[in-house]
Symmetry: C2
Subunit: 347 residues, 2 copies
DNA sequence: TTGTATGCGTTATCAA
DNA sequence: TTGATAACGCATACAA
């Protein structure tokens, strides 16, 4: 056996494959095989090599591995923000499940800005993400093309659409809101309003509004005259929007909020205005974050299985990356949590 | 000029430096320079090269760049969990600031488990993180040695210790708690209790407990007889622990909680037990998460500048990585938010 | 200012 | 089962 081809051991630095090979008296190819497909190596040599690996404290160089194997075992996620508990929770589960499959998570946030999201997607792709988790479908077609030419698999979460080319895992924002709204109308409400996120760049927000309108139509309301305020997802904006919407004529007896954060704001505004909830006005949210059941009175909302979504999204994405398949979209079930902020309209 | 050295353009795939070079009729070295140090290239050629970059939609290959330059422009963070709003908030700011400096965030979570944290640190290092953000100082010495031999700079956040070898950014958990506790004792409380996280593996929790004991000693209380319950950071555990601690004799008139999540649980338990807060018992938290001011009654707690900490941590870490310096530890200020859960003891 | 040539540490193909 | 060796795509020292 000749190890002449291997350069001499350097003074002291991070050990490389060659160092291990030299120590175990085998070729670098054999060391590489020991690490990546151990069963292709004879028991004897393998133990010898592994001993050298331990002894040197060898760990493969990430860049070199990525360059040679064309994959990084890294998955990227671009989310609006971690500050919203629903994403924090989902991403936490996502990361845990990725870890179980030997993948690491690369994250970036878009702050709900379309242009920034596109930039982040490009960045994570450039950073070598093997696959991408995206939130919702709405984005420039250019982005989808980019992903396709780069052949980076992407999965959409927090939204569901069986027809779309991009696989997704989520729930029907529209149906969930229809279910909730029907219950509200059954209580007898005839004057409603909605506080929503911007519906132009946020398909989830749009679908939720559509759901309310659909149910309102069923209930025979004049959908076009329904007050809708579009604002940003924050408690303060919820406060402000609630004040505006309650100034409408006729005054709403029930206010749908695009998410729980807005609803908490609405609740606070109602208190400040001296309005009883649900005596004077009913309020509903969406997401069922921790705050929803802790609020006073507790918030009626749509429960979304964020953790399950994160966990399963990880599994799907790993499949997409490793098996190079496009999975079927998965629809998760939401359910209505009836709590104290919903009651019959004032008589 | 001869471009003979460059291989012919491949059928169609992801463009490389060579493709750009061929198109712009320059060498790969020039293209590389255009991208990394534009000022070393003549205006004329640069515009030509940049046009080719745009035209081809070229983006550098991550693995190759990492291999050649020995850096990934990636920073890793190992946090207990994203589900705690304080980390979600801090990490969000951390990531935003990293982005401004051209760095991307790699995250992993330890679920407050020491062994898992060590594994995650090794994983992120193996994934080529240029630097690491860690939470608190407590971890096996082996980990610090590992980081040193690998020469991966690490910064500790959510804790502050000017003496430690590892630079840190945070605040004195002990002093913050002393400040809060002094106010409590000034109100006249003589019987207190504490609900804490596990103090063996969590240095922040330990310091907070120390703070309470210090102030209690100052106030002339018998520190050894003070009831302390160690549990896990969750609302449910807070509920359970509060029940236990209120069964103590003499019954505490004030209960310090290791964080706001536990305090929210304590608050809920008090309600369920028919106790008035602060009439029968005062409750305090730590962190000042959103819930704290939204709770009913609003929670007296220690405000921690989580966002600022995340943002500045990013800046420090980038400095450590790029300038190869060890920055001075930074101490941030906390302040007490006096809200309704704190009152004088019942007479 | 630009080009040439080499090395970075793996993986993978092909031989032996 | 193992070894030699050619990519992989970029950065950079050195030369022109």
């Amino acid at each position: 056996m000749s190890r002449e081809s291997l350069p001499p051991t350097p003074a002291s630095s991070v050990p490389t494959l060659a160092d291990v090979a030299r120590m175990a008296n085998v070729s670098t190819a054999t060391v590489s095989r020991c690490l990546n497909s151990p069963d292709q190596v004879a028991e004897r040599t393998r133990t010898r090599v592994m001993a050298a690996v331990k002894g040197l404290g060898y760990a493969p160089n990430f860049g070199a591995r990525a360059l040679a194997s064309k994959q990084t075992n890294t998955i990227g996620a671009v989310i609006p923000t971690m500050e919203n508990a629903i994403f924090a929770r989902g991403i936490q589960a996502f990361q845990e499940e990725l870890g179980r499959h030997g993948y690491t998570l690369l994250v970036a946030s878009s702050s709900y800005q379309e242009a920034l999201e596109e930039e982040q997607i490009r960045t994570l792709t450039a950073r070598g993400a093997d696959g991408l988790l995206l939130i919702g479908f709405h984005r420039n077609a250019r982005v989808y093309e980019f992903l396709k030419t780069r052949s980076v698999p992407a999965l959409v979460a927090w939204a569901y659409d069986a027809e779309n080319n991009t696989p997704s895992i989520g729930f029907s924002n529209k149906h969930a809101m229809v279910d909730l709204a029907r219950i509200v109308f059954e209580k007898g409400h005839r004057h409603i309003g909605m506080i929503s996120a911007d519906t132009t760049a946020n398909d989830r927000a749009r679908d939720r509004l559509t759901g309310v309108k659909l149910a309102a139509g069923e209930a025979g309301l004049d959908v076009d005259r329904m007050p809708v305020i579009e604002t940003t997802y924050s408690i303060e904006c919820g406060v402000e929007a609630f004040r505006q919407i309650m100034a409408w004529t006729p005054r709403p007896t029930a206010v749908f909020c695009g998410n729980d954060v807005l609803a908490i704001g609405a609740l606070r505004a109602a208190k400040e205005m001296g309005l009883s909830v649900p005596g004077d006005v009913s309020i509903t949210g969406f997401d069922d974050i921790e705050l929803a059941s802790l609020a006073e009175p507790a918030l009626t909302t749509v429960h979304v299985p964020h953790r399950e979504m994160g966990r399963r999204a990880a599994g799907m994405l790993v499949d997409m990356v490793t098996k190079k398949i496009t999975p079927k979209s998965v629809e998760l079930q939401t359910d209505i949590r009836l709590r104290r902020t919903l009651g019959p309209p004032p008589t």
